[in-house]
């Protein structure tokens, strides 16, 4: 029993962390290459070589960092990603932890991500990292509500806050069709959570890397891996919430989940490379004034749909 309920889930999550982060690195490189970034070498080996390089490089220090927080932040971000991956169901029975309140748990992961990213920017005691941290808080506080409304929307027809139930409720029709506003809004949240592409306000180019401007070596590796893993966790949740999780003809459930996650990742990575970075101020206005009312509409839509 211990093996089944403890060892297997932990191994599963760690496997997804490693495989997921690697997949994101490979996919992003392929997309960058397709969009014109010059590169040589094998896309399969490049992420590993980069990891090895970061492990040999020494970790940087600043004059008076908050050491504990500085080391804790990347590790915490990694654990948040792990927790997110743990609630993603791969089939009706294959899920690392099938918590009855897994939707709420994911909501708390999103909220804590803001704290962790801010901590990362703050603890370096360096100007650019600090600005990156504070900017990110503005974004984090704006996307969190959108995400909550959208997720509540998928919980309504399921009458449950459990991701396995949410998937089961999509037997007839996937939520992506039933609640057409849901997935696009949720993808924006995903870019925000991982500060990817257009919503990269934390580690942006104008801040010479923002919260990551002062880190090098192993801490940077952990930070990058955690970010990629978070993107995978997010795509897992998006798959369960909107794309019918393991549901699908012919192929076995887990394979369907993997395919759908890859599709979500692909969309996110493409958006990340195609859109310019939003100005923080415009980003906050956009989220509150346009996207949040849209998420209200999504919720009402979901509610009416669930009652009919």
């Amino acid at each position: 029993m211990i093996v089944e309920e403890l060892v297997l889930p932990v191994l599963m999550v760690f496997f997804m962390l490693a495989a997921g982060a690697y997949t994101v690195a490979v996919l992003d490189r392929v997309i960058a290459g397709a969009l014109g970034t010059p590169q040589t070498g094998s896309v399969w080996i490049a992420p590993l070589a980069r990891g090895a390089w970061l492990m040999t490089q020494h970790a940087n220090a600043t004059e008076a960092p908050d050491w504990r927080a500085w080391r804790l932040a990347p590790a915490l971000y990694l654990s948040l990603a792990a927790i997110g991956l743990a609630v993603v169901p791969w089939s009706g029975s294959l899920v690392a932890t099938d918590l009855v309140t897994s939707v709420v748990l994911w909501g708390s992961v999103e909220a804590l991500a803001t704290v962790v990213i801010f901590l990362h920017g703050w603890s370096a005691n360096a100007l650019f990292a600090l600005i990156g941290g504070y900017r990110y808080v503005a974004l984090g506080l704006s996307y969190i509500l959108i995400s909550m409304f959208v997720l509540i929307g998928v919980a309504l027809p399921a009458e449950s806050l459990q991701f396995t139930q949410v998937v089961a409720s999509q037997e007839e029709l996937w939520n992506v069709i039933r609640q057409p506003l849901g997935l696009p809004l949720f993808l924006i949240v995903g870019l925000g959570m991982t500060f990817w592409g257009p919503l990269n306000l934390a580690d942006s180019a104008d801040l010479a890397g923002g919260t990551a401007a002062e880190i090098s070596g192993p801490p940077r590796l952990v930070w990058d891996v955690a970010r990629a893993a978070m993107l995978v966790a997010f795509s897992g949740v998006a798959t369960s919430a909107f794309l019918g999780g393991w549901l699908g003809p012919w192929l076995p459930g887990p394979l369907w989940v993997a395919i759908k996650m890859l599709a979500v990742l692909l969309v996110l990575l493409l958006l990340g490379r195609l859109l310019p970075r939003l100005a923080p101020e415009r980003c906050v206005t956009l989220m509150w004034v346009i996207l949040l009312p849209l998420s209200f509409i999504d919720l009402v839509w979901a509610g009416v749909g669930a009652l009919l």
Binding site: L35, E63, I131, S216, R273, L275, P276, A279, L286
Partner: protein, 423 residues
């Protein structure tokens, strides 16, 4: 790599951007190789030493068309642009395989101020806010915020001359309140920029308008490349660069322009603000002035251009967004003029009134306008401020054209870094 460009340093930078083996990064912390590209003037040695010491162990330094400091051992100097990428990769591999020693630190290993144990508990100072914990004072409020008058701490620092978002060589003393610029003082003007030789030739004799206009379009595209990188549009910045490198009279800007407007560059990115008044616009001249509505372009006085039906394009608002629209419109116009001029074989008719891409060249070459930044940047959010700088071509025009200077006043430089993947 951490791109701070100079006259010829920026050329090396652009070359490396398109080299598949090299990854350029914006912060020295992310680098294993430091590239000093081009001559560094003596007054920027101290900042270079600081940046040099900020790369994490192990790292190595390459000097490109720049004399390495004599006290450094085991340094590599490269002069040929074509072998530079390979030399960087070799240096990186040697470093990783332990065949090359990490560069030594140049500066002394001591905190910026002595502090240890000054206070009662071994901390850095005395009293509530006094002293220099860990070698630096704590931030103290200096003045009220300019936007809402709230009195919180402001942070004062000097940035550059090797900051990638600045024109190469520029340095400024900046005070921030939150992420808003409170004061801005440009301390070092950017290095004068070299223009294409054709503009210098045009001052001596009549030249074909096609060549002149292509060089103008290329100059603007290089600036666009830089600004798009800053805006996070890596793939668009690369296509601007490729377009510039392969520019001919058959090139068109349509693809890039369509992509920019569809991706929301003009609506969503941080390119708000930075309005120039008419007087300020006149001081900087060139496309920035026309973006502010000044209808001045020396090409209107040239009979050759009049034959091609030239009339200057203008924007009204004079802010960062208008400047980019202006630059896109001017690139388009230049390509069109070049096409017509090539077909009809038209040459210039004036030699002492040349409109360079940087501005009008009458008796004097366009001069440095970086002091303008002190007036327009205060009150802007950090991202908008950097975008404003990227949109303004403030550097003076150097005495000699591109590629002919090897010594002397030129500046340039900088750093680079790593190549993440192993080749």
């Amino acid at each position: 790599m951490f791109p701070v460009l100079g006259v010829q340093g920026d050329k090396a930078l652009r070359h490396l951007t398109l080299s598949p083996d090299i990854e350029l990064v914006d912060s020295p912390r992310h680098a294993s190789v430091l590239l000093v590209a081009g001559e560094i003037p003596a007054d920027r040695f101290e900042p270079l030493r600081r940046v040099h010491d900020q790369l994490p162990y192990p790292f190595t330094t390459l000097w490109f068309r720049c004399e390495p400091w004599p006290h450094l051992e085991n340094v590599t100097r490269i002069d040929d642009l074509d072998v530079l990428p390979a030399a960087l990769v070799t240096a990186y591999h040697e470093l990783m395989e332990g065949r090359r020693e990490s560069s030594p630190r140049i500066l002394l290993d001591k905190p910026p101020n002595p502090w240890e144990g000054a206070g009662d508990f071994g901390q850095g100072g005395e009293g509530m806010m006094g002293g220099v914990p860990y070698g630096r004072p704590m931030a103290m409020n200096m003045e009220d915020d300019i936007r809402d008058g709230l009195t919180l701490d402001s942070l004062t620092f000097r940035l550059g001359p090797f900051f990638f978002a600045f024109p190469p060589g520029m340095a400024a003393e900046i005070t921030l309140q939150g992420d808003l610029v409170q004061t801005w003082k440009t301390q070092r003007a950017p290095y004068p920029q070299s223009l294409d030789p054709v503009f210098f030739a045009a001052r001596k004799r009549l030249v074909p308008i096609a060549a002149l206009e292509l060089a103008r379009a290329r100059h603007h595209l290089y600036r666009l490349f830089h600004a798009l990188h800053l805006a996070g549009l890596e793939s668009a910045s690369l296509s601007a660069l490729r377009l510039a490198n392969n520019l001919s009279t058959t090139s068109t800007l349509d693809g890039l322009r369509r992509y920019l407007s569809r991706s929301g560059f003009f609506r969503l990115a941080a390119i708000k603000g930075g309005e120039l008044g008419p007087e300020q616009a006149r001081r900087i001249g060139g496309p920035a002035a026309r973006a502010a509505g000044l209808d001045e372009d020396l090409r209107s006085d040239d009979a050759g251009y009049r034959r091609l039906g030239f009339s200057p394009v203008c924007q009204a608002s004079g802010d960062t967004r208008a400047r980019w629209r202006q630059v896109l419109a001017e690139i388009d116009q230049s390509l069109q003029l070049a096409r017509q001029a090539e077909r009809d074989d038209v040459s210039t008719s004036e030699v002492d009134r040349i409109e360079t891409p940087r501005g009008p060249w009458l008796e004097k070459r366009p001069e440095d306008a970086s002091a303008l930044l002190d007036e327009i940047l205060p009150g802007q959010e950090w991202g908008d401020a950097l975008a404003t700088i990227a949109s303004l071509d403030v550097a003076a025009v150097a005495e000699a054209p591109l590629d002919t200077q090897t010594t002397g006043e030129s500046p340039i430089t900088e750093l680079s870094d790593d190549e993440g993947g192993p080749a």
